[in-house]
């Protein structure tokens, strides 16, 4: 998975931080920088982490092509399904939330986890393009939900939030929906099928 980081106009350590994040997602990154210090720091950071770096000075910036040396094990390529959420895909990334807790296990922990998940979602990049709440999941999008503030922040940042209308009615929560919009199964099905990637929670 190849990513490009445009760090032109940014002072250190920002180019290093952005490149590190990109490298955590994939094995090949092109970082574009515009000064010698950033070139040096990004190059040394990548080399110390075991990557090979080829530097090319073009008119609009210094292009640092960072890749795992060919003799290293290409971890990401070998198990493509293990590409972490956030790796670039063609088409929108949709998060499907069918429950109001995260994972199976202790109920209290599952609540803590779901709250932490949406809080973290606010801080990572790239964000999903849409979040769909169905069944018990709609309870996360209503007044009093522990994840409400984070969901509102995501919605404000441009993430489309859809809540299943049938589910809201069933739980008598339609009036209490506090983020996003009431949606129908037609829109939900279409959104899922047109997605580049669906992450199911």
């Amino acid at each position: 998975m190849h990513r490009t980081v445009d760090a032109r106009g940014l002072a250190c350590p920002q180019p290093v931080i952005l490149t590190r994040r990109a490298l955590a997602w994939g094995d090949a990154v092109t970082a574009i920088v515009d000064n010698e210090t950033a070139r040096h720091n990004v190059t040394r950071m990548a080399e110390r982490a075991g990557f090979a770096v080829a530097s090319e000075r073009l008119e609009d910036g210094i292009y640092l092509r960072i890749a795992r040396p060919s003799d290293a094990t290409p971890v990401i390529e070998a198990v493509p399904e293990a590409v972490p959420a956030g790796a670039p895909v063609d088409g929108p990334v949709v998060l499907l939330v069918a429950g109001d807790t995260l994972g199976r296990g202790d109920a209290e922990l599952a609540q803590v986890l779901v709250r932490a998940f949406f809080h973290t979602l606010c801080e990572v990049a790239p964000r999903p393009d849409a979040i769909i709440f169905i069944n018990n999941g709609v309870k996360l999008a209503v007044e009093g939900s522990p994840a409400l503030a984070d969901l509102q922040a995501l919605a404000a940042a441009g993430v489309e939030v859809l809540a299943c209308g049938t589910c809201l009615s069933y739980y008598e929560l339609t009036e209490r929906l506090a983020v996003g919009e009431v949606s129908n199964m037609y829109t939900i099905a279409e959104t899922l099928l047109q997605a580049g990637k669906v992450v199911s929670l």
Partner: protein
Amino acid sequence: MGPEALAQVLRPLRELFSAARYPDLLVGLGVSDDAAVYRISDDSAVILTLDFFTPVVDDPYDFGAIAAANAMSDVYAMGGEVALALNICAFPADLPVDVVSEIVRGGAEKVLEAGAAVAGGHTIEDREPKYGLAVMGLVDPQRVLTKGGARPGDVLVLTKPLGVGIVTTALKGEVARAEHVAAAVASMQRLNRTAARLICAAGVHACTDVTGFSLLGHANEMAERSGARFIFRTGQLPFVEGARQYADQWLFPAGTCNNQRAYEAVVRFAPSIGEELQQLLFTPETSGGLLAAVAPGKLAPLLEACRASDQPCWVVGEVAAGAGIAVEP
């Protein structure tokens, strides 16, 4: 601005204000030191210095206190006491008044802690906030502590841990852990007053404070002025929590590169010193500690006095004959 460019800018001024024409200017541009010292009588000299910078931490009060501690540090590095300070402020028009109040209060309370007074100041409008102090201190002209005077055989001591610069850089990059920031803030806010008092009482040979030019840059100025070689032992160097970790992640600010370029020619690292650690020692510090050269016979009383006053003090190396800096394990 890197140290080399700065030296180039100041060179013509040095000629304009030649030492011969100003006999009472004990420390001026001719000999780069922490602050200017001007003799007003046989037993009294004025120390003048100023420093201001953009926010290094998020909390406005902490920022004010750090900027003030940093500005006053130059007076302590010269062996003086702070008498008066003036605020230097540049704030955006839309910066809330309570934020400005907190910055200025942080600075003022730090000046109060130093036993001095804020007597005025000047404010302009600027896109990025900046705050600091112009500081006047007083010192006995016979007891001015300068960067020159370290002798072979002296022991090097440091009174604050290193690494606050890379922690605040990580903070700006939003990757710093809160507890690392808290420890760095506490260190930056600490006045060098007690350290300076104990160092003066112990009778050290040379002293400076460690700030933007990094440990190695400031040490090099001392070594150069003293005509000696400084040897640091990395195993003895103290670092704030998190600094080594952020160095391993290569989160160095641009200033690290500037300092490295300026000083790498005079620094010899032992082969076993990793590149991250080398870079860390070139990384700018903010409101760092005092670096002093003390005669071996006076070391034990100094360390004992520091212990009694709850003042940290680390032995970090020694002075040898020669020139430049050596960094050894």
